[in-house]
């Protein structure tokens, strides 16, 4: 999985992957769920990538301690991106 892609899950939900962070050898993605019109909704999740049997799976991360660390990393990434954007 990569940032700037839209993944479609087996339950039909589409998610746009916004940022990626790696923690303890695991990949996590900051994502926004897309609604039926394929527009960003109000639902944001952190998805953990799992590779198994040559297939890709995700699991919603809800461990608070991990989320705290990930949010720190995402914030750093966002700050870094902000300095490169000009209008």
């Amino acid at each position: 999985m990569r940032v700037d892609t839209v993944i479609t899950l087996e339950n039909g939900v589409n998610c746009l992957l916004l940022e990626k962070a790696t923690l303890e050898n695991e990949n996590y993605f900051l994502s926004v769920v897309l609604n039926e019109s394929e527009e960003p909704s109000d639902e944001y999740v952190v998805l953990k990538e799992i590779l198994k049997d040559d297939k890709q799976f995700v699991i919603k991360e809800d461990d608070e301690q991990i989320l705290v660390k990930l949010l720190n990393l995402f914030t750093l990434n966002l700050n870094s991106e902000m300095t490169t954007i000009t209008d």
């Binding site: 999985m1 700037d4 892609t5 839209v6 993944i7 479609t8 899950l9 087996e10 339950n11 998610c15 746009l16 992957l17 916004l18 940022e19 790696t22 923690l23 303890e24 050898n25 900051l30 994502s31 926004v32 769920v33 019109s37 394929e38 527009e39 109000d42 639902e43 944001y44 999740v45 952190v46 998805l47 799992i50 198994k52 297939k55 890709q56 799976f57 995700v58 699991i59 919603k60 809800d62 608070e64 989320l67 705290v68 660390k69 949010l71 720190n72 995402f74 914030t75 750093l76 990434n77 966002l78 700050n79 870094s80 991106e81 902000m82 300095t83 490169t84 954007i85 000009t86 209008d87």
Partner: protein
């Protein structure tokens, strides 16, 4: 645009302009002979440009780098001169921003060190150590990682503090005064360097001078044009800034080589009328030079298209409608072509109007066989004394003015007025770039368009899908107010109860992956909002840089969103968020302000579907 005079006058006054009552009769005379709606729109645009923020940080970095290089050269030459003093005087003028720059560098370094420490910790197993050594090494790396994390937080706090100080200084920043002050010192430095007669020194000095000349030039030129228009139309500005008139002569920018070869043009909005041109410069010269620049740009676009799409055949011709600047025909469909940076395709044209304020081109596009068919059906061109049935084969646009080609009714293109249709077409064009599930490890193909980064705007391979995002958001712009409350409540409930469309603690297979092309700014704002939403759901915010998020939001808001039309009392308040609810409010407010900005930017023009060329 609504041309009702009352509405135009209201718009004029809303932008801070009014008729000079002492010259009311003169105003009436000039207005009668011109397109007043265009005038009001132009004044609004100029005002927006004048008020838009300028990137002082980027200027300061380039300027100080240039001075440092000059200083190094001077020191290496061992010249007895007062040049060093003059360089120091210039550097002293940047102290208001140098603290901020230093803090930024420290933060960047702290971030890199933290990330490296984390990486080393996460990859400790790869070192191939035995159990005992691994245990000791883990202890060492864990301590180091903690130390780097603390250093990072300190750097972030220092950075935020410096930025606050810097932003306070900005409140009283006067661009002209600042540039004039720099110019005085540069002139003195120039004299000293000329005395030394060293080519390297002179070259380095010229680099610095160019940086200063270009700084804020759009704002200065816009101010000049605004003042000229107001003078000619006898319009007064509220709280008129007389600095341009009062200030001593500033160094006029010499023609600087612009990397993308586009030269700044004062757009002549009288171009479509026969009215007398009222700009202070020689009107005929302006019109001729405008037309020549336009021709140059069209030829440039035509050549770029040929270069980027070597397997396609292109022809340049005369458009079917005066709203287009030219006609380009091709034997391949428009959606399959690579376009130069900043250019986009609509259903009928190639244009840069979504990404440029000047040198705007709107070039009609047709399939090559269709163009040839239509040309065969056209009436002969205006009598020139030659064979009237001979088909004109125009390779450049130099002959454009002399050829009058009647438009066949078949060439009138249908207007797309149904928004649902536009939305459908937009959805087809954005986001989907082939199914990647078969080759998940293959890098997606990105059009190989060369981008000249030096002194040019930020990379725009994805930049202006911002406008696509605006098209999608436009239909929700009207509902933003009433949705806000519902959204906030929903977010908090959902976040706290861990509900949503993705069940927790369950592995879900990814069935399909598609490439998404999103504008960097849109993606950044969504990322910030996402981070704020998730942070707000965590009971303990210890360790989460709420203040850092708040600062990030402030920076984005002030640098990229705040304008005359868009303002947010919440984001402009001095009180930063301190808890989950606060940061959630800020994140949502940022997103709302951004959507409003996009809606405002696009509400004047109703465009057909927009896409960016690529494969």
């Amino acid at each position: 645009m609504n041309n009702n005079m009352y509405d135009l006058m209201v718009k004029l006054t809303n932008n801070g302009f009014s008729i000079d009552k002492n010259h009311f009769n003169d105003f009436m005379k000039t207005v009668q002979n011109s397109n007043f709606a265009d005038l009001v729109e132009r004044l609004e645009l100029l005002k927006r440009r004048i008020n838009s923020p300028i990137d002082i940080i980027a200027f300061a970095q380039s300027f100080l780098d240039g001075l440092n290089k000059l200083e190094e050269e001077i020191n290496s030459l061992n010249i007895a001169s007062d040049i060093q003093e003059k360089i120091k005087s210039l550097k002293d003028k940047m102290t208001f921003v140098s603290g901020y720059l230093a803090a930024q560098n420290t933060l960047d370094q702290a971030k890199d060190e933290y990330v490296k420490a984390q990486y080393d910790l996460n990859h400790i197993n790869e070192k191939g150590l035995n159990d005992e050594d691994l245990t000791i090494e883990f202890g060492r790396l864990a301590d180091e990682s903690r130390a780097k994390e603390e250093a990072l937080y300190k750097a972030m706090n220092l950075f935020n503090k410096e930025r606050e100080e810097y932003e306070k200084t900005l409140a009283t920043f006067d661009l002209l005064q600042f540039k004039n002050s720099l110019t005085d010192d540069l002139n003195a430095l120039s004299t000293a360097i000329t005395a030394v007669a060293n080519e390297d020194l002179e070259n380095k000095f010229n680099d610095i001078k160019n940086i200063v000349d270009n700084f804020g030039i759009q704002r200065i030129n816009s101010q000049k044009e605004l003042d000229a228009i107001c003078k000619n139309y006898h319009i007064t500005q509220k709280g008129q800034n007389n600095q341009v008139a009062d200030k001593k002569e500033i160094v006029e920018p010499e023609p600087v080589k612009v990397i993308n070869e586009e030269k700044p043009v004062i757009k002549d909005f009288f171009a479509t009328s026969n009215d007398p041109v009222l700009l202070p410069e020689n009107a005929e010269t302006l019109k001729e030079s405008d037309a020549k620049r336009k021709n140059d740009n069209i030829n440039w676009l035509f050549n770029e298209l040929k270069r980027l799409n070597p397997r396609s055949n292109f022809e340049l011709g005369i458009p079917s409608d005066s709203k287009y600047d030219a006609l380009i025909s091709c034997d391949n469909p428009l959606s399959s072509l690579y376009l130069p940076n900043g250019y986009y395709y609509t259903s009928t044209s190639i244009t840069n109007r979504f990404s440029a304020d000047e040198n705007i081109l709107n070039v009609e596009f047709k399939a090559l066989d269709q163009t040839k068919k239509e040309n065969a059906n056209l009436e002969p061109s205006a009598p020139t004394g030659g064979d009237s049935s001979k088909e004109e084969d125009v390779e450049t646009l130099d002959q454009e003015a002399n050829i009058q080609t009647p438009v066949s009714p078949d060439q009138i293109l249908p207007e797309i007025s149904n928004f649902e249709k536009e939305l459908e077409e937009i959805k087809k064009m954005i986001n989907y770039d082939g199914d990647l599930t078969e080759e998940p490890t293959k890098e997606p193909e990105i059009p190989q368009v060369t981008v000249e980064k030096e002194n040019a705007p930020a990379p725009s391979v994805e930049k202006n899908n911002e406008d696509i995002f605006a098209e999608i958001s436009r239909n929700t712009a009207k509902k933003i107010e009433e949705e806000d409350r519902e959204m906030l409540a929903k977010q908090q409930v959902a976040a706290s109860k861990n509900e949503g469309s993705i069940p927790a603690k369950k592995e879900i297979e990814v069935k399909r992956t598609r490439r998404a092309i999103s504008a960097p700014m849109a993606k950044l704002i969504l990322g910030v909002t996402a981070t704020c939403t998730i942070a707000s759901s965590l009971p303990l915010l210890v360790g989460i840089p709420v203040a850092a998020l708040g600062s990030t939001i402030s920076t984005i808001y002030y640098q990229h969103i705040k304008s005359n039309d868009v303002s947010s009392p919440l984001l402009e308040s001095e009180e930063q968020p301190r808890d989950g609810k606060g940061i959630l409010n800020w994140g949502n407010e940022l997103l709302k302000s951004y959507k409003k900005k996009l809606a405002n930017n696009n509400k004047v023009e109703a465009q057909p579907s927009v896409g960016r060329g690529g494969r």
